[in-house]
Amino acid sequence: MNRSISGRLIAKDLYLYRWLIIAAVLIGTAALPLMRLGPGDGVRSGVNLGMILFITNVIVLGIFIVMYGVLKERQDKTSLFILSLPVSPMQYTTAKVGAALLAFLAPWLLLTGGTIALILLSDTAPDGGIPSFAAMMTFFLCNFCVLLALVLVTTSEQWAIAGILITNFSVPVFLSIVLNLPDISAFRRAEAAVWSPTVLAIIAISLAIAALSLTLAYYVQSRRKDFI
């Protein structure tokens, strides 16, 4: 019975996020044809409005889910209403994380898959850009999980803003330094996708940080004595 309540809480959140998810998919899809994926551009062009729109869309989606779905629910005391239902605070946390991940991952998967498909189907876009694009998208997923974990643990607006600033600041650092590592940039214009050890390590590290941050958030929540 409790599993079904957790499912209803997740469904409730997805219903409340529905316009956000739809908007993210639409904006991301609109950005795809605007991306200049021709030879020499890959995913690192200097002025690439489509790519900027695409990246901003994914980042903003993550921020909105965390701020609107997690932090605002706490601040507005709607969490008090949910916790009056037959759920424990840990079940509430699980449902919150599940809903946030689903709300982020659904557009993320669509946009990541769509972009990769577009590159693969394109005659002009080199497939060599796929690994660095995948690494970038995994990095965004990691940033989202870190921000989500931070807000779950702190429930403070100040910490959330600090988290947003830090994760956003890390994006240009990632794009300009990590994606320009020789082992990655050397293959970006290649005809075929090359999954170098460096790019695989970046993806693995991003996923590990994402998992670790959420695990830590769960651990802190489980030891917490006051949930409101």
């Binding site: 219903y15 409340l16 507005d76 709607t78 209403f81 009056s84 424990s88």
Partner: protein, 298 residues
Amino acid sequence: MTAAALAFRNVSKRYPFFTLDDASFRLEQGQIMGFVGPNGAGKTTSIRILMGLIQSDAGSVELLGCPIPSEQVRAKWNVGHVSDDMRLFGAATLDWHMGFVKSIYPTWDAGYATTLLKRFHLHQQQSIKHLSHGERIKALLLLVLARRPRLLVLDEPTSGLDPVARHEVLAELMDLLQDGERSILFSSHNTLDVEQISDQITFIDRGRIVASDDKEVFLDRWQRLSIELSPDCALPEVAGVVDVTRTGRIAVVTTNDYRPELPVIYAHAGAQVRDVQRMTLEEIFVANVMHNRKERGE
């Protein structure tokens, strides 16, 4: 022996600037308890401990026979909790909220929900963000009452309501009490509301339970006596007197243990009791709190 609707046993919770200290009280099933205290007395902290939202540092709590917080989920199936700072989802309608709660509780009474919509003058399709404070409280009560809980835990539900809305809410609670199976814990600093609906009263002040008893016991025992004294007459020491105010030959004595023989005791000492007045719950509350603070040297 049936389990109590709720029971606090020596519950403590320490914060840097507030301590809930060794709180013990009990509400039997089918009873209504007014939980009265000034702002910051510990009412909300106690209720949040009761609902498993805060863990106490010491003591034990039971809700409908379930230990809290470990079995809070089982208990919450039969508990309706409303507090004045609880919010619904602003972007959704009341209808959506009703559907959401109905999907969780098989006990949802759709007919009663419709009746409450009419009584509270609420509109199902109205967005929550457009509701006033009073309408929001009524919407919360509707969502709780229509699932027919065995215990209602109401934390300052009438706070900030206009007199008409307060009357509507209290009338609905009184109606609900026709069913003797249900229990209510009703926290408020408004003693008038509490006096209207409660069987039992628990007073809390500065994190301590000051007194907990039947309402009628409080009203019978706490009395105010106007006594006329001759100039050379001193008031005798009488057990239960918590306050004496003397102006010239007239003394006003407040007692928490009124007995019919009290006027006789004073008469033997040369003092004439001119008047014995029942106190309102508010007067009892204030006198009780001030007496306890004095006793603790605060």
